[in-house]
Point group: C2
Chain length 426, copies 2
Amino acid sequence: MYDAVIVGAGILGLATAYHIKELRPNDRILVIDKLKGPGQGNTAKSAAMFRTFFSSRTNLLLAKTSIEFYEYVEKKLGYDLGMRWTGYLFLITEEEYKRNKPVLQTMKNMGLEYKIYDADYLAKTLNINVKVSQDEEAQMMGLVDIDYGLFIPRAGCIDVDSLVKFYEQELRKKNVEIKCGVEAKELIVEPKEPLELPGEPYPWQEASVTGVRTNIGDIKAKKVILATGAWTPLLLDKIGIDCHIKAKKRQIFSIKADKESLKKLLYTKGFNPENCMPFLILPKPKIWIKPALEEKAIWIGLADEFPREFKVEDDPQPEMNFYEYGLYPVIIKYLPQFKDARPYSSWAGLYAINTIDEQPIIFETHGVLVVSGASGSGIMKADAIGRIAAALYAGMEYAELSGGERIKTTTFSIEKRETEPERFVL
Amino acid sequence: MYDAVIVGAGILGLATAYHIKELRPNDRILVIDKLKGPGQGNTAKSAAMFRTFFSSRTNLLLAKTSIEFYEYVEKKLGYDLGMRWTGYLFLITEEEYKRNKPVLQTMKNMGLEYKIYDADYLAKTLNINVKVSQDEEAQMMGLVDIDYGLFIPRAGCIDVDSLVKFYEQELRKKNVEIKCGVEAKELIVEPKEPLELPGEPYPWQEASVTGVRTNIGDIKAKKVILATGAWTPLLLDKIGIDCHIKAKKRQIFSIKADKESLKKLLYTKGFNPENCMPFLILPKPKIWIKPALEEKAIWIGLADEFPREFKVEDDPQPEMNFYEYGLYPVIIKYLPQFKDARPYSSWAGLYAINTIDEQPIIFETHGVLVVSGASGSGIMKADAIGRIAAALYAGMEYAELSGGERIKTTTFSIEKRETEPERFVL
């Protein structure tokens, strides 16, 4: 009998297991995952970017303390997590700048750093074509001129595989069992006092989740923890619990920076200590462009909304048409360096989007604890999310985040949710 | 080209069509339904109870004005809707009564009527066994003693078929087309300026819903209105819009009142002008028991939650085990009259549960207007919901409800939702 079985060895499941062992070193914890190894699901598909720049107190706390923990892991525990402080550079319009000025001022007062570059500087340093509005095709596509660059230095990327490895190694040291190739088919619900009635529990019986039914048999535990990301609603719908999570496909296209113009872009100096281009975000649609230094490549993606379907799928595929007609025609208007660029690699994963406010979902009901719905920010918030889930598991009212700040364990629940809406939206 | 195509001729689709024609008599409106006639889906499966007794301003307004409209339809328009003022009688514990006292006082101040009966009176008039706690089986089932009856006179039932007929006949008079046997397979999304690109619209294109793809071909309309109840997420998920609605099966079991003891219960005098038993709600689990006078029967049901699954299905079936092990053993403890009673008829439908607050969802986005999620209160709130949806369709800021009271058309939207939580919860 396990104290807890954690379903899902993605980044949230691993972080949760890690922090449970910090709080309850003697508890018997099992982590199961349907894939061949930890972190091979949507965790592995991530763009793996992070920023510590949010207006929402709750968003900021999760990201900031998690990033600080990863820095601690690198500096004090000696793990190389491949953190690179590339910065984020939002390419924005006059209108966007004006609209966000009040919230940016508030954020400055909170101690968050940013810098504004003018269009000329962007054109000069990154060879961005900031004026697209005269171009007939660009007009037809509704593209807008870039007036400013909003640069955020406390931001960058991390190597997800290394982060997964760190957690995995630490969990093995702490005697946490990780069983891969084990798929949770459904949650086991049992009455507290079983009477062997067909189809029990009935409404007059007290009942709760007591385990998971898997391809290798039933696994019982005092607590079942779902860190199942985009798959969560499949398990919870079956027992009538809404987790407010829906799955949406996200795609990444990787372009080799072998052409001289792309190489020049990738290794643009002056923005960050890595001497590379910052993570760029175009104005509209908000295509992002990431320096992927290890592969000498540039990654491209876009979190498209309407009419991109909500759909849980096991093996989501990137769509070449999406690159060719959705991304490429926009990118070359702003960054002619990409002319004729074609992906040498591409993949797709699923965001587990919490449709209430796109902040994580961490709650417990009927014996099951849910930690999911990070809505695409799972990597950058995993440590804090894991701490909160672990504290909730341990029955604590507050979780202590990296650096010592405390947060109520119900902050990201459904019934007592106290998230602060994000007002920095570009 | 229609001004609006309304998908779903259930009660909400019909009421919406009716009120659109009141506001926009010249608009060309088509109502489609996948079944053979209007109101044959979950509308027909309803217990068809109503009450004008809610603490939430929004709940109350919807129910109260809708019921007033139905009374107007009966008295002024001369339709027999089969309204019967049976009243609701909540059988409650001391603890429940104490807990609800403050909210009941508030409701009394709002002009809402109720009456408290003591246990002796209930035992005497309805032959209810109010003391179950000495019974060993009842104890094992966790059943509690009944201390009071909370009676609500402004409540009863309506004949759903008659209500559907009323709307249908009025719609035909107003030249609204109703096409049955037409199933909406998916929503058509098109860019404002089509370029014939494979897979368009792309993220740089403005796009919206322009029609529905059906088994008889594409139907285009200036506005698509989804009154698709429990099926709504199937259509909206495909275009990445979350309506916060999940489907849950609800079952009704009908018992013939042919036995003397049941006949006596059914025709209990003293509670209402119908000279029949009131609609009863047991304390825990909250099984309800309805006088079905037309059939000389008594209906029984229970809106069970955990672990009843969320699932959209076309032909949900009642489960005899649910009656036999879930309802029957509880009922006979309180109402021994039901000893050996077996359903002569039973059926199941789907609630379209809005998992935010169980109040309706009425919003418009990307060219599609959604009116669903009444969470089991669709019949008793249909007129008001239809008025709000119609006003939203007509671009009005406020809807005028029956009786003249106005309410913001965004009150039940997702982004600008202003529902008041229900505090009268038994």
